[in-house]
């Protein structure tokens, strides 16, 4: 952040922008979480985070507030660099607070975090085949949720190709992820019959909405195990939210970088 030139306006001054953001986020939180029951006991869960992202994008496109333009868009990118910090602190505090669960529940919960290696191995070749370049690193190094965003922005900067790639998967994940993962649960339980507990642990992938979608499908398939499945998946999701960032920083992201450097030339 070497933005200390004298002519540059401070990030704080644009009060109209901040008021607009306050307006968007307060409306979104005011609407709150909405459950839409679909077929087979599957609920489509809509969260305030989705509304605020889409509202903000719509504000930029349709300009109901005339003062939001390209320069505000750039200001927001810089502000984000600072704002991700409190989010990380919040997650870190949750991990410090729950450190004993980690010792008690056994290795499966933690080891399952290494499943993100599967993300890279399956995702990266497909992304490269489809012609993505550096974006592929942001897209396929993780399931692309908030903690990983913070790491990517910090490492590559908001305007980098890696972060653009991340946002592609992030956005599509928000729109289609819940539906996709609930269908996937049904298919996988049929084709790859691992123990339902394993799928319950796997459903905690760090996205609350996807977690809920996956575990509801799982419970529909194994109603007798419902309590245990819910408990395992909730715990697992918490662990994901909290610890996935360390797996990401030290394992998945460096691994994706290495594989990209090694193989991207074969895909051109």
């Amino acid at each position: 952040m070497n933005n200390n030139e004298k002519d540059k306006k401070s990030l704080i001054d644009d009060y109209k922008l901040h008021i607009t953001i306050l307006f968007i986020s307060t409306i979104s939180l005011g609407i709150g979480t909405i459950n839409i029951p679909l077929i087979n006991g599957f609920n489509l869960v809509l969260l305030p985070i989705m509304y605020s992202l889409f509202l903000a994008v719509l504000f930029y496109i349709y300009k109901p507030a005339k003062w939001i333009n390209k320069s505000q868009s750039k200001t927001c990118a810089e502000i984000l660099l600072i704002l991700i910090s409190p989010l990380i602190v919040k997650l870190a505090i949750a991990s410090g607070e729950n450190i004993d669960i980690l010792f008690n529940v056994g290795p499966a919960l933690l080891l399952k975090e290494l499943g993100t290696v599967g993300t890279v191995i399956i995702g990266l070749p497909i992304a490269l085949l489809l012609g993505f370049k550096r974006e592929a690193i942001g897209m396929t190094s993780s399931i692309c949720r908030e903690p990983q965003l913070a790491v990517l922005i910090d490492k590559y900067g908001f305007d980098s190709d890696e972060v653009k790639g991340f946002f592609v998967v992030y956005l599509i994940g928000i729109v289609l992820g819940t539906i996709f993962i609930s269908i996937l649960t049904n298919i996988l339980c049929y084709l790859v019959p691992l123990h339902p507990y394993s799928y319950a642990l796997a459903s905690g992938i760090g996205s609350t909405s996807m977690n809920v979608a996956a575990v509801s499908s799982l419970i529909a398939l194994y109603p007798a195990l419902s309590d245990k499945l819910l408990a395992l998946s909730g715990l697992s999701n918490m662990i994901s939210v909290v610890f996935s960032i360390y797996v990401y920083i030290f394992i998945s992201l460096p691994l994706t970088e290495k594989l990209y450097e090694k193989f991207h030339k074969y895909f051109n």
Binding site: N4, L17, T20, I21, L22, I24, S25, S28, T33, L47, P48, I49, L53, F54, V57, F59, Q72, S73, K74, C76, I79, I82, L83, S85, P86, I88, K90, L91, A92, I93, S95, G96, E97, A108, K112, G115, T116, G118, I122, G123, I126, L130, F132, M139, C144, E146, V151, D154, K164, V168, G177, F180, L188, V192, H195, S198, L201, A202, Y246, I249
Partner: protein, 156 residues
């Protein structure tokens, strides 16, 4: 060694974090009916730790360690059961809901993405395929590893 840290930079961080604190506390109150003052104190704690992390990154001479590492290590440390203020910190920060924090953050992210919308459109179907592959890979990868670990520890 030159330290890249100015009074102007720090005061800008503080200003942004203050604005963010107020917004998140309002959102918390509207969305989750948490008491406004307690949420605000919780936000101040989160922001104070962030500020310490951001400053430490600039002061320490390790160029390739991002601020986020310091921030997450400090956050983890102050919430450990044997840290004297842990109870207080956990109490007030629990009054800040993760979703309200993220909702404000994503409103900024939405405006920030505005200037790049053109490049999103180009991605289209290819993006959807990669997204599905990513979710599939994570889900199956985690399930296989969880299955092996559960079987190995005798839980299934």
């Amino acid at each position: 060694m030159e330290i890249d840290l100015s009074f102007k930079m720090v005061s800008e961080w503080i200003g942004i974090l203050l604005i963010f604190s107020v917004m998140a506390a309002i959102g918390n109150y509207v969305g989750y009916q948490y008491p406004f003052v307690e949420s605000l104190i919780g936000m101040f704690i989160l922001c104070l730790i962030s500020l310490v992390g951001l400053i430490v990154e600039k002061l320490l001479p390790f160029d390739n360690i991002p601020a986020i590492i310091y921030i997450s290590l400090i956050g983890l440390f102050v919430a450990l059961p044997w840290f004297p203020l842990a109870d207080l910190i956990i109490y007030y920060t629990s009054k800040v809901d993760l979703i309200s924090l993220t909702t404000v953050l994503l409103a900024y992210a939405g405006v920030a993405m505005g200037k790049d919308l053109g490049s999103f459109k180009k991605v289209g179907l290819r993006g959807i395929i990669v997204t599905f592959a990513v979710i599939f890979g994570t889900y199956l990868g985690s399930a296989v590893i969880a299955h092996i670990a559960l079987a190995y520890t005798g839980m299934i």
